[in-house]
């Protein structure tokens, strides 16, 4: 079973040179830490920045430079700043190559639920709803199951959904899955030490297993 960091590490190996990427909060945020140095990618922040850099040194914290999680950040060389309408024109218009989001649930036909809900109240969704509706490739990074052990890979989403038929690939602590065009989670890789039986038991939606399923390789060190 993978740690959050290892999920992030596994996704990092999928990222290609030259991509413009949106990272959601949670596990996706960690991915930036595992990218090979030589990879030239640009991270977008929905509050108006292309080129998110690492957290700043304490003395460089600037209240006017934050990310969408309202954390102080730095900007990389070659950044650009813009307003919120432009930030979402960019997202909606399909200019972001890849979005990696957390999720509460994913359905076997690629629907995603990731509204922020607390004490029974929907509190919003940030930029996710626009991202999942855009033409950007969409990956999900999440735990395979809720804390109570129930599966997050479902036949149908039970929580309010954020977008339909939009997820392409799911990375969980148990494995990597693609969504089949006809519906279903196709298992691509197992996490080290995880059996197919365990994945079967923990996947509520239709699971498709074809041929031999390799154990994934994790190169980067943690």
């Amino acid at each position: 079973m993978l740690s959050k960091k290892q999920i992030a590490q596994r996704i990092a190996s999928e990222i290609k040179d030259g991509q413009y990427i949106y990272l959601g909060i949670g596990i996706p945020t960690l991915i930036a830490n595992y990218l090979p140095e030589q990879l030239e990618v640009v991270f977008q922040s929905e509050n108006g920045l292309l080129g998110i850099g690492p957290y700043p040194e304490k003395e460089d914290m600037d209240p006017d430079i934050i990310n969408a999680s309202k954390e102080t950040i730095s900007m990389v060389k070659g950044s650009s700043l813009f307003d919120s309408a432009e930030a979402f024109a960019m997202i909606r218009g399909g200019h972001i190559d890849l979005s990696i989001l957390g999720a509460l649930e994913v359905s076997e036909n690629g629907d995603i639920s990731n509204w922020k809900i607390s004490s029974g109240l929907i509190k919003g969704v940030g930029g996710a709803l626009d991202l999942v509706a855009s033409e950007a490739k969409l990956y999900v990074a999440m735990h395979h199951c809720h804390k109570d052990g129930s599966s997050k890979l479902l036949k149908h989403c039970e929580m309010p959904i954020t977008g339909i038929k939009c997820v392409q690939k799911i990375f969980t602590d148990l494995g990597v899955f693609t969504i089949l065009p006809e519906g279903g989670f196709k298992l691509c890789e197992r996490a080290p030490g995880v059996t197919i039986e365990e994945i079967k038991a923990k996947t509520e939606g239709r699971l498709v297993i074809k041929g031999e399923i390799k154990e994934m390789e994790l190169f980067a060190q943690d």
């Binding site: 209240p63 919120s84 919003g124 969704v125 930029g127 509706a133």
Partner: protein, 231 residues
């Protein structure tokens, strides 16, 4: 050029009336019109509708207006960090309209740009689409969304001149430029107010035509919601 300077926030907001619809700039606590919000707090206004990306926190930003029970309705994309909002919402004294962030931004931009309605893919198949027209273009489905306009827009910029031209700084730009275009009366507060002619016309983010009143605020707190530093 036309001089739009007013003395301070108090003068700027003095003709806002009960029940007014007000756009308030900022993202979280970043780029919020602190001085105009503080000026509102000195009034006895009631029943305001506030359109702002966030609800602020309990003791800063839009949260202060909520705490003082000045709002009847809040239109936002995310209200995660405000407990007092939740309390008033649950007892039914404060209404909430949640709009996806990109749609909120585009609806405000449309309001300023004279576009009464547009189609967007965001929200198709979700509860956001409830009661809205769905239409197919180029084999994809889209939702019809309407413009947003307001009686007042309270915005914050970094530098401004007396003609209302504005320059923002960093990610404090966010919703401010779009909101500037969609207020019948737009009130801009700036950290530094300069004479006309000092700003480079090529670097202006908000042309002065959108701004009806401008003043220099002081003692900006610029509170940081989440201080994060390199390890």
């Amino acid at each position: 050029m036309i001089n739009k300077t007013v003395k301070d926030g108090i003068e700027a907001v003095s003709d806002i009336e009960n029940g007014a619809v007000i756009l308030i700039g900022g993202f979280g606590l970043c780029g919020i019109p602190e001085a105009s919000i503080n000026a509102l707090l000195t009034t006895n206004l009631k029943g305001l509708t506030c359109i702002s990306n966030n609800a602020g926190v309990d003791d800063f930003g839009v949260g202060l207006l909520i705490k003082q029970h000045m709002l009847r309705k809040l239109i936002s994309s995310y209200v995660g960090e405000n407990l007092e909002f939740e309390r008033q919402y649950k007892v039914g004294t404060l209404e909430l309209e949640l709009i996806p962030q990109g749609t909120l931004a585009e609806r405000i931009r449309a309001g300023g740009a004279g576009i009464p309605a547009f189609y967007t893919p965001a929200g198709i198949g979700t509860h956001v689409a409830d009661g809205k027209e769905v239409r197919e273009f180029d084999e994809r489905l889209f939702l019809l969304e309407r413009w947003i306009k307001a009686d007042f827009a309270l915005i914050k910029a970094w530098k401004g001149d007396t003609a209302g031209n504005l320059i923002y700084k960093g990610t404090a730009r966010n919703f401010n430029p779009l909101m500037a275009t969609a207020g019948k009366i737009t009130i801009a507060e700036v950290e530094e107010l300069v004479p006309v002619g000092e700003l480079d016309p090529n670097q202006i983010h908000t042309p002065g035509i959108y701004v009806q009143r401008i003043f220099q605020g002081d003692n900006y707190e610029k509170r940081i919601e989440n201080q994060t530093v390199r390890k």
